[in-house]
């Protein structure tokens, strides 16, 4: 597993998200109110909405297009909706954030 540096914790607002551009598409990196960090594909399983643009609450995000709620921990849709997005491993070292990009690439392959 290769860890790639993507920036530091303070680059992401609490209860917010930033995007990381990759050849496989955008990854949304979320920071929760209690400073947990999660990375998932920036692509809602419903109609492909940019999850990074949604409202973050607890460890979930509400998609801005049609209000699906996606768990940041599992990538699965919560409530009555069904579907999931891929999650990407994140590591926090001090303030620095790393993601394991090869996980995404190998799955994509």
């Amino acid at each position: 597993m290769t860890w790639t540096s993507i920036g530091s914790l303070c680059d992401i607002p609490r209860r917010g998200a930033r995007c990381v551009a990759t050849p496989q598409g955008k990854i949304a990196v979320f920071r929760t109110a209690d400073d947990q960090v999660f990375a998932i594909e920036d692509h809602c399983p419903h109609k492909g909405g940019p999850l990074s643009q949604g409202i973050v609450h607890g460890a979930a995000v509400t998609c801005p297009l049609h209000n699906w709620v996606i768990s940041l921990e599992t990538g699965r849709a919560l409530g009555a909706d069904e579907g999931s997005v891929r999650t990407i491993p994140v590591r926090i070292e001090g303030e620095r954030l790393f993601i394991a990009l090869d996980a995404l690439a190998s799955k994509a392959a």
């Binding site: 993507i6 920036g7 930033r18 990381v20 990759t22 955008k26 607890g58 509400t62």
Partner: protein
């Protein structure tokens, strides 16, 4: 001919007596009431929630004016009886009204005890007894200055909590070593003091007041030990005395109270007394349950019905301060012939003590967890021998006989005669009987039919569980729609509590209103953020993470994740320069679609998020600001060309539209607001299906509102006709401000107006010029903070992170 019944006093006890009387013998008496307070009968125990802002006065009225009219009762409001002539059988009021009686009921209640210290009469010294006192306290609280409450009993603590909620700095002075020492043992008194102090109220025990000091008005309280505590408001809540002066003057037998027998009869056979002024069997009473029992007894006596006698019983005490749970009952003093069982859980702040004598409960003090109070009370009343369950008694009913800790099961396990509502003495069987017998379906029904939970409300949870238990799936609790799954409160309650409790941040709301989730959800957070922006425009820092993406990046998200941009064109008027600038932007950023909107604007669609600041920079150079086409806020004011060009135009509709838009742009509202101004009744700007519309006529400006042309189609309602453009602007602004302050988040004007009623809106923003002005000024104040172009802010670098990726990774390897 019916006999004449005269009642002196219109508090809760005589009010309840009348209800029983009207049930038992509706036509027997011609009833006249003299009330020294200038108002109808209300629930005095709910004054504390009125003081703290959790309830309005209208919500605690028991009998409105209509009730007296319906029952043919004459009510003299603001008449104090000054004399009773027992020989002539007449009473005379301070306004000179004399009324004769066959039967007289004295219910003069009590007067607050004022400690006889120097300065007790200074302006700013209040007691806590009636609505006038509450209003005076609310007025004083506006200063947000310092208040002192003398007396750490039930009333004093409720007053202190209320004043604190209203923003005052409060100190409680209590002469005894622990709070509420008559109802609580020292351990619970200590926990109570900690809980009170945790709310930011200062408590001084063993504080003996020497004098109230001040020059012409209250400036502070001096204690026996020489210290002086500054304050502009002093509330004395040290106890009450039965109000017996009138009865004494009339020669009736009095002691501490007016002496009555167990049928509420005074020493004069034509006169009864009840309520806090009455003394029966050597006791006087201040809690509502025995007073209501007196009402029942007195009504029975007046109708010569059943021979009902008053029997003394202990009444539990509960404190009505939200978030402090306290229950005390009976006798809990130590004694050689007594045993006690105690449970303490320091981390949870729980203390429970049950006092036993001969294996029977004689007293209970519960703090922090009071759900078992009713059960302990039941065991005490029935003098149940508890030796069998002694080991688990203190853990409560749920731990007996292997019953589960499910509250519903606990209620199900209660005996039919177990008391549910202490105030009104209503047992479980009566409630379940009424539910099945009368087909009741909700809490209000139960309150109406049985009076259970209709007084202090602390048994509401139990009654709801009984409804659930009796009706099963058919019980649909409350038509009240909670805001979302994070709370059981509805939007209106939340808005009211934000103001009443002075909540100024989202975490403060979630903490104080006991949100069930740690940081809300996508439904409640934007609503709370709006309410705070609206209510505290100068103090609240907008929480962008609680805004929907469109309002966070000031553009409209599209299905493919790109954005659309709509620059503001005031009143729908544009120019060659503006059009040229738009054309240049479209070319430069290869914007795929350009479209004219229904609100007379130009929409550029398909812009990548990263390009937004650059697009805005170019538009800004041509003088454009954000068109807020994405906002729950003022969108567009559509106009026709009016008297400038049109041969039918009666007024300058274009000019007025531009003026309104320039005045109101940037304001946030509960849902989007679209307006239009038409220059004549031909209405080319389609003003009669807008949230707010103006139709110009020869004689002035007809103001319309509450139209819709979306999911619902609805023509506007006419608010009224005004003569000048200035007046039109003021009315429209006031209307929108009223809507901003009252509506629920995402509720359009037409839905809000349907709830509030056109007449009420008209009254407030058209007829009542003062109120209109106040709304107008609050809007103007709020605009100082709202009217900032979000696009130029972002061109200057605000929220840079929004428009850039955090990183780009992996591309080098991909290229190889």
């Amino acid at each position: 001919m019916s006999e004449k019944l005269v009642i002196i006093g219109n508090g809760m006890a005589p009010g309840r007596m009348l209800e029983h009387l009207l049930e038992g013998a509706p036509d027997r008496y011609a009833v006249t009431i003299f009330n020294a307070e200038p108002r109808v009968n209300y629930d005095r125990i709910m004054l504390s929630p009125v003081l703290s802002g959790e309830k309005e006065f209208e919500e605690i009225v028991i009998h409105g004016d209509g009730w007296y009219i319906k029952h043919g009762i004459t009510l003299y409001k603001g008449h104090r009886i000054v004399a009773i002539d027992r020989d002539a059988r007449t009473v005379t009021s301070d306004h000179g009204v004399t009324e004769s009686y066959d039967r007289l009921v004295i219910a003069t209640g009590s007067v607050p005890f004022i400690i006889p210290v120097p300065g007790k009469g200074l302006p700013g010294v209040l007691s806590y007894r009636d609505l006038d006192d509450v209003n005076a306290m609310l007025l004083a609280a506006q200063s947000r200055a310092k208040a002192i409450v003398i007396g750490g009993g039930l009333l004093g603590l409720e007053a202190a909590a209320g004043l604190k909620e209203r923003g005052m700095e409060v100190t409680v002075l209590h002469v005894m070593p622990t709070l509420m020492e008559r109802q609580l043992d020292p351990a619970a008194g200590y926990l109570l003091q900690k809980a009170v102090e945790a709310r930011g109220i200062k408590v001084m025990t063993r504080a003996n007041t020497k004098a109230i000091v001040g020059n012409g008005k209250v400036e502070g309280v001096e204690l026996m030990d020489g210290t002086t505590i500054p304050a502009t408001l002093v509330v004395m809540a040290v106890g009450i005395r039965p109000n017996i002066a009138l009865a004494k003057d009339a020669g009736l037998e009095v002691n501490r109270g007016i002496v009555v027998d167990d049928r509420m009869q005074t020493s004069d056979p034509a006169i009864m007394a009840l309520g806090e002024c009455a003394e029966v069997g050597g006791h006087v009473y201040g809690l509502v349950a025995p007073l209501y029992e007196m009402a029942r007894v007195a009504a029975a006596g007046l109708t010569d019905g059943e021979d009902r006698r008053f029997v003394h019983s202990d009444t539990p005490t509960k404190l009505k301060v939200t978030g402090i749970d306290l229950y005390s009952l009976g006798d809990f003093a130590d004694g050689d012939d007594r045993e006690e069982i105690i449970l303490r859980d320091a981390s949870a702040g729980i203390y429970k003590r049950v006092v036993l004598q001969d294996n029977r409960i004689i007293g209970t003090v519960l703090f922090g967890e009071t759900a078992d109070g009713a059960w302990f009370n039941d065991l005490k009343k029935k003098a149940t021998d508890i030796s069998e369950m002694r080991d688990t008694l203190i853990f409560g009913q749920a731990f007996q006989g292997g019953a589960s800790s499910d509250p519903l099961a606990a209620v199900a396990a209660l005996a039919d005669d177990a008391e549910i509502c202490g105030c009104n003495g209503v047992g479980k069987g009566k409630i379940t009987g009424a539910i099945t017998g009368k087909g009741l379906t909700g809490l209000d029904d139960v309150r109406a039919h049985t009076k259970a939970s209709a007084s202090c409300g602390s048994c509401t949870g139990l009654v709801e569980q009984l409804l659930k238990l009796t009706l099963g799936e058919a019980y649909n609790p409350a038509a009240l729609q909670p805001m979302c799954g994070c709370t059981s409160l509805g939007h209106d309650d939340v808005r009211r509590l934000i103001k009443a409790k002075g909540l100024k941040t989202i975490p403060a709301i979630m903490q104080e209103l006991e949100w069930k989730t740690s940081c809300g959800c996508a439904k409640c957070r934007p609503a709370l953020n709006y309410y705070l922006v609206c209510d505290w425009p100068d103090q609240y820092a907008d929480d962008y993470q609680s805004r929907f993406i469109n309002e966070r990046v000031h553009a409209n998200i599209q299905k493919d994740g790109t954005y659309s941009v709509v620059p503001r064109m005031w009143g729908g008027v544009t120019s060659a320069g503006e059009l040229r600038a738009i054309a240049d932007v479209v070319d430069k950023f290869r914007i795929p679609t350009v479209k004219v909107t229904g609100g007379q604007r130009i929409d550029m669609l398909g812009i990548r998020k990263e390009d937004l600041p650059a697009v805005w920079a170019d538009l800004g150079k041509a003088g454009f600001v954000s068109g807020h086409a994405y906002a729950k806020g003022l969108r567009t004011v559509k106009t026709c060309v009016g008297s400038d060009w049109c041969r039918f135009g009666t007024q300058d509709s274009t000019g007025l539209g531009i003026r309104i838009e320039k005045f109101m742009w940037g304001s946030w509202t509960p849902a989007k607001v679209k307006m239009a101004v038409s220059g004549c009744p031909r209405n080319c700007a389609e003003a009669t299906c807008k949230d707010v519309g103006v139709v110009c006529v020869d004689s002035g400006y007809e103001i319309h509102f509450a139209g819709a042309a979306g999911l619902d189609i609805k023509g506007t309602e006419v608010l009224g006709l005004v003569k000048t453009e200035d007046e039109a602007l003021e009315v429209i602004v006031a209307l929108v401000q009223m809507y901003r302050e009252q509506a629920r988040y995402l509720e359009r004007i037409y839905k809000w107006a349907k709830r509030v009623g056109t007449a009420e809106i008209k009254k407030q923003v058209l007829d009542d010029v003062e109120k209109r002005r106040a709304y107008f000024e609050r809007f103007v104040f709020s605009q100082k903070f709202a009217q900032v172009d979000p696009w130029s802010e972002r061109v200057s670098g605000k929220d840079k992170h929004e428009f850039r990726p955090l990183a780009s990774v992996g591309f080098a390897e991909a290229a190889e």
